[in-house]
């Protein structure tokens, strides 16, 4: 697998790797891909595995319920200001 692909994947995954780590993870992904590739040679049906069916009456009614307090919303954020979650663009 090309390292270029690993770098692309790390962007999509929100991860960054050092040069060594990149080699390591590339190898791992290659091995795993090889391992699962068997399925490409097996004939399959055309229907995908689908989730169960639900009916409309199982959905939620449009009734307002209590929200969290602003305090509760903000208590897990690293920084907040005037009720907003604050996040510095760069540091």
């Amino acid at each position: 697998m090309k390292k270029h692909t690993t770098i692309l994947l790390s962007e999509l995954s929100g991860l960054e790797f050092s040069k060594d780590e990149l080699d390591e993870i590339t190898k791992k992904l290659e091995d795993m891909e090889t391992y699962v590739s068997d399925i490409c040679n097996i004939k399959s049906g055309n229907e995908i595995y689908d989730f169960d069916m639900a009916n409309i009456d199982e959905l939620r009614e449009d009734i307002v319920k209590d929200s969290l307090s602003q305090e509760d919303v903000l208590k897990n954020a690293a920084k907040s200001k005037n009720g907003y979650i604050q996040f510095a663009r760069r540091k």
Partner: protein, 473 residues
């Protein structure tokens, strides 16, 4: 102390012992024994005792439930406001829960007492319980061996009797395998039988919360309390009542013989003998997908994992980097990379790999079609012949901590018997049935058709009577 919920409940209701006394005893035990296994990662005596007090008040008023006043533990990926919920991760180490999981709410409504949160592989990614941020767990029977995972701490806490029962989670064997390794009962319900609201998600279409306990009877009681439809999980529904007289037990002998080690095979033989003792007919079954389960799991489950793990950016909650960063993307990458272990990163990367570009069709959708084929195969070729499948839970007893699996194939074998239940959504239970030649517990697995949880539990209870295994107290 009595070894089952009903006896304990009776003692409590007769006021032979109070919940506060019982809880205090268990807290003492935890203090004494937890360092051996590191089964618990969080406890809070104040919380436990205050819950015990409440339970005693309910008992005094009359009409308590069987679970009232009885101390239990919960896997650290099950949301509780009263105690930390971190999924044993650095990412959530300081996270403050803002809501309770549905299962915890149900247990509280039944007067249960929470002793603590148990150790697990970080974000449920692992089959050893060596990958948690708060340290490894050790098997109580041999601390050089793993408890199994990811619900390893839950399994160990029951095995050490530092709680009466626990709830774990199982996306690819994570309740049943540690249950087998630790000599306790672990049950993964039919997909959708128990609400996933409050379960820190790993692989959404594979996982269920399930009871872990010393015996099947207790497991049944707990399951009946935690199961059911839930407005907070639109994939959950009411399991119908099911029974099965004269069940037919299906056995894939070739598959088991090829996969299980000598010790496990010996216990498996005993389980087959138990079938005749119970008067259950056995039939040969075969699935052509035996070599495929793990591959489908890696593709589909890891794709869901990659998706579910996206929310951990450090922006609204969770670990945030203290390093310098140039923009939002950089912040996100640094926070996640600093917080996540290698196992977590690998699974996220592979999951996204299966969803990117051409791979979406080539791997993801192909696997999704094969998952459907698998369901059809089981119903056409397996459950047309039998009602329940019997196999070992795992190919071996608990492996040594320093054991390095040689290949992906080898590590995939650990859960080969357990995986079909996750891929198809079947109810599946591990019962301790014997020991290995070096006295490590070995469990046997019973798997049934979707929605046949009650029937499965009854059959399992019968099997248990013939088990050659005594739970360590």
């Amino acid at each position: 102390m009595p070894n089952n919920l009903i006896s304990l409940a009776t003692q409590l209701q007769r006021k032979e012992i109070s919940s506060v006394e019982l809880t205090t005893e268990y807290l003492k035990k935890i203090k004494k024994l937890n360092k051996k296994t590191n089964a618990y990662v969080f406890t809070n005596e104040e919380v436990s005792l205050s819950q015990a007090k409440k339970a005693d008040q309910i008992i005094a008023k009359g009409a308590p439930s069987v679970l009232t006043g009885i101390p239990m533990s919960l896997k650290d990926s099950i949301m509780t406001i009263d105690m930390p919920t971190t999924a044993c991760s650095k990412m959530l180490a300081k996270y403050i829960p803002t809501y309770n999981s549905t299962v915890y709410t149900k247990l509280l409504n039944n007067g249960a007492v929470l002793l603590g949160k148990t150790n697990m592989d970080e974000f449920s990614m692992g089959s050893s319980c060596l990958n948690g941020f708060f340290g490894e767990a050790s098997n109580p029977y041999d601390t050089n061996r793993v408890t199994g995972g990811s619900s390893g701490g839950s399994a160990a806490s029951i095995a050490q009797d530092t709680c009466v029962y626990s709830l774990g989670t199982d996306a690819g064997g994570s309740i049943r395998q540690p249950a087998s390794y630790c000599g306790i009962v672990g049950f993964k319900p039919t997909y959708g039988a128990v609400s996933r609201n409050g379960l820190i998600a790993l692989a959404s279409s594979f996982e269920q919360i399930g009871p872990m306990a010393k015996n099947v009877g207790d497991t049944k009681i707990i399951f009946n309390v935690i199961k059911g439809k839930d407005e907070f999980d639109q994939t959950a529904f009411e399991i119908p009542r099911t029974t099965r007289q004269n069940p037919i037990i299906g056995i894939d002998e070739d598959h088991v013989e090829k996969t299980a080690d000598k010790d496990t095979l010996a216990v498996f033989e005993k389980a087959i003998k138990a079938c005749s003792k119970l008067g259950y007919k056995t039939v040969k079954i075969k699935s052509k997908y035996n070599d495929i389960y793990a591959k489908l799991y890696y593709i589909l489950a890891y794709a869901e994992i990659a998706s579910n793990m996206g929310r951990y950016t450090g922006i609204d909650f969770g670990y945030s980097t203290k390093s310098k960063y140039i923009d939002t993307n950089d912040f996100i990458k640094k926070s996640r990379s600093e917080a996540f272990s290698n196992e977590v990163k690998t699974r996220i990367m592979f999951g996204n790999h299966m969803l990117t570009g051409e791979n979406m069709e080539k791997f993801y959708y192909k696997a999704l079609k094969m998952r459907n084929d698998l369901v059809e195969d089981y119903y056409l070729n397996v459950f047309s012949k039998c009602d329940f499948i019997l196999s070992p839970t795992t190919p071996t007893a608990a492996f040594r901590k320093d054991y390095k699996h040689e290949s992906i194939q080898e590590s995939a074998l650990t859960n080969i018997f357990a995986l079909p239940a996750n891929l198809i959504g079947l109810p599946s239970i591990s019962i301790p049935f014997g020991v290995s030649s070096d006295n490590m517990p070995i469990g046997m697995l019973l798997t049934g058709k979707r929605n046949f949880d009650n029937a499965l539990l009854s059959v399992a209870e019968n099997f248990e009577k013939h088990s050659g295994y005594k739970v360590l107290n």
